[in-house]
């Protein structure tokens, strides 16, 4: 019996066998199609990174007609990229700016999230809508006055004896980026934290209060620790958001690494000054992406829940 079916299997071609199987069990065809589509998505999203690696490893004098494999092998591009431009300083600046913003946003956002999530007060809905409306505006609508403010050109107040008090000249300092970022990324964090904080049962907070904790103490000792996943989510999203930001980062410094210029300027300066060093630019791109890629791999659950919760709440 079994030999007879084997011979039959061999007598029909592989294509016909495949179509026959496909007709008999459409489920497995869908399965096959599913794997093809999945593979397509994975390849299209990751291919640019692979090609960057190919480009980075190709020696500088072999930079023509690069295919799917590097023309040669030159890992020193990953060293040289730091020598031509202080790319590590740009990255450091970006990380410092992103971390500072994240800390400020989490602190300020925690107070606001507590108020919106756990307290009743007049004007709550109006204030939430105001926050939402502000996140609709394009950054271009903020930049002109902010630039003047942070270049010390706005008169804050005029006193009779001292004279006019000008706004601080923070151009080329982290303050000119951290302060606007804190405001622009605050709404998302408030929406996420409001959701998380409102889900903590009142009893837990009351118990801490009975034991003599102050109101502020209860926020820091009960509410925030119990909402750790929410705080982590908001923190990760803010960090990635600031690290990736282009517009304000681009306009608030003059582009020198020692003047707190972030990674945006590392890239722009490479394109401006070292146009022909394609391998160094590719290496710089790979290195610049690493912090956020690591963050995505570690914190993907948090990112997914945060993006969906934040957006669908709004």
């Amino acid at each position: 019996m079994s030999t007879a079916t084997d011979e039959e299997e061999e007598s029909v071609g592989p294509l016909r066998r495949w179509t026959r199987d496909a007709v008999r069990s459409p489920g497995s065809t869908y399965r096959g199609l599913f794997y093809v589509v999945t593979l397509f998505f994975v390849v299209t999203t990751l291919f640019p990174f692979y090609w960057l690696l190919v480009l980075a490893l190709t020696p500088g004098d072999q930079m023509r007609d690069i295919g799917l494999l590097p023309n040669g092998f030159n890992p020193y591009a990953f060293v040289e990229m730091f020598e031509r431009l202080p790319f590590h300083v740009y990255m450091f600046n970006s990380v410092v700016i992103a971390l500072t913003t994240t800390l400020i946003v989490l602190l300020v956002g925690s107070f606001a999230g507590y108020a919106f999530g756990r307290l009743e007060f007049r004007g709550k809905t109006v204030l939430l809508l105001l926050l939402l409306a502000i996140s609709y505006f394009p950054p271009a609508a903020f930049i002109l006055p902010l630039f003047r403010l942070f270049t010390g050109n706005v008169t804050l107040l005029t006193l009779p004896v001292v004279g006019a008090i000008q706004s601080p000249d923070w151009f080329n300092t982290p303050g000119a980026m951290v302060t606007p970022f804190s405001a622009l990324f605050l709404p998302l964090t408030i929406f996420i934290l409001t959701t998380f904080y409102s889900q903590i049962p009142d009893g837990l907070e009351d118990a801490a209060r009975v034991e003599g904790t102050t109101r502020i103490g209860a926020l820091f000792r009960v509410i925030i620790p119990l909402s750790a996943p929410g705080v982590a989510t908001a923190g990760v999203l803010t960090f990635i958001g600031v690290y990736n930001e282009f517009f304000i980062s681009f306009l608030m410094t003059d582009g020198q690494a020692e003047n707190w210029a972030p990674i945006v300027w590392g890239v722009v300066n490479y394109q401006g000054q070292y146009q022909a060093f394609y391998n160094l630019m590719a290496a710089a791109s790979i290195v610049g992406v690493l912090p956020v890629v690591i963050l995505v791999v570690i914190a993907q659950e948090r990112i997914v829940s945060g993006l969906t919760a934040g957006a669908l709440k709004e």
Binding site: Y136, P138, A183, R215, Y270, V292, V296, E314
Partner: protein, 325 residues
């Protein structure tokens, strides 16, 4: 000695606790407002004041040759001259031009938004359907899909700039052989538009996918069993169950992406440049750098107005859905 030290320490502690104790005496409403003070300070100085000031500036003339920041009050002149084309000469490229849609800021921005958001929706939906299945390695597929979303805009620009350099990028060679692209695609508007749209789809489809996935996972699975018993095909199950139930999440995702893509700037600056692809935000930056602050403010508020208009379309559509239920 010891008592004195103790005394001063306890006074220090008391000073630290005092504000915390003060909050104890507030009513719930007062406490809420107290907690919102830092938020209020940040938002009012960094968002509300700049918006109001920009709006006010947009009604003033440019002051190029005086010490003043902006010139005299001119009411709606900036807006009128931008929209009727009188201001095109100082902008370097037309503001609105329906006859040459690839030259003018408004049309370039809108064409880009419509094509990019449509493609992202379709691809994001596909990715969401894949991620909705149970299979081995799903976690890693999700990471792979999510990584482009986390790439800084500047590096995204660098990647696609490198991709389409005439000598090295194999993509350029291939597309030239097919007759689709010119010799140096990043200096031709139409080629650059295609590149920028592809770059945007590559980066942001994942965002779309995640929101749609959240919608998919909230669909009651027993509905599919009922449909299967009733003999519905896979396509029918998608059309009559999945799609209508996911539609609200889909609209929210599209609204978000549309608002974000109206701001397009960074990817243009790092690939083709604002001369090749003039978007609205490009114009704000170029007029700002030229010292034409009144014009820049007006362009910024026209952009904000367009965003609000598009947001309204979605919100009305969304309200229809809610009523229809």
């Amino acid at each position: 000695m010891a008592t004195r030290e103790e005394h001063s320490r306890s006074r220090l502690r008391a000073a630290a606790i005092a504000p915390a104790n003060w909050t104890e005496r507030l009513t719930e409403q007062q406490y809420a407002y107290f907690l919102l003070v830092p938020t209020f300070l940040l938002i009012s100085t960094m968002a509300v004041w700049p918006l109001a000031r920009t709006f006010q500036m947009s009604f003033h003339a440019d002051a190029l040759f005086t010490a003043d920041y902006v010139g005299e009050f001119v009411s709606l002149t900036n807006y009128v001259e931008l929209l009727d084309g009188t201001r095109d000469a100082v902008l370097g490229s037309p503001f609105v031009s329906l006859s040459n849609p690839l030259d003018s800021a408004v049309t370039v921005t809108l064409i880009y938004v419509v094509i990019a958001v449509t493609l992202e929706t379709v691809i994001g939906f596909g990715q969401a359907l894949v991620l909705d299945q149970e299979f081995r390695g799903r976690r890693w597929v999700r990471v792979a899909v999510l990584i482009p979303w986390a790439v800084p805009i500047a590096i995204q620009g660098m990647i696609f700039w490198l991709f389409f350099q005439p000598d090295i990028g194999f993509a350029t060679q291939l597309l030239q052989d097919l007759g689709l692209f010119g010799r140096n695609p990043l200096t031709r508007t139409i080629d650059s538009m295609v590149i920028i749209i592809v770059a945007d789809v590559w980066k942001t489809s994942a965002f779309m996918a995640l929101l749609i996935l959240a919608g998919l996972q909230s669909v009651d699975r027993s509905l599919y069993n009922v449909a299967r018993v009733a003999g519905a095909s896979t396509w029918q199950r998608f059309k009559f169950i999945t799609f209508p139930l996911v539609l609200p999440a889909l609209l929210v995702a599209m609204l978000f992406r549309t608002i974000q893509s109206m701001r397009i700037y960074g990817i243009i600056e790092t690939t083709a440049g604002c001369n090749t692809v003039p978007s609205l935000t490009c114009l704000v930056v170029s007029t700002f750098r030229a010292g034409r602050y009144g014009t820049a403010a007006a362009v910024a508020f026209i952009t904000a107005g367009l965003v609000a208009l598009v947001a309204m379309v979605y919100i009305v559509k969304f309200a229809d859905l809610e009523v229809g239920r």
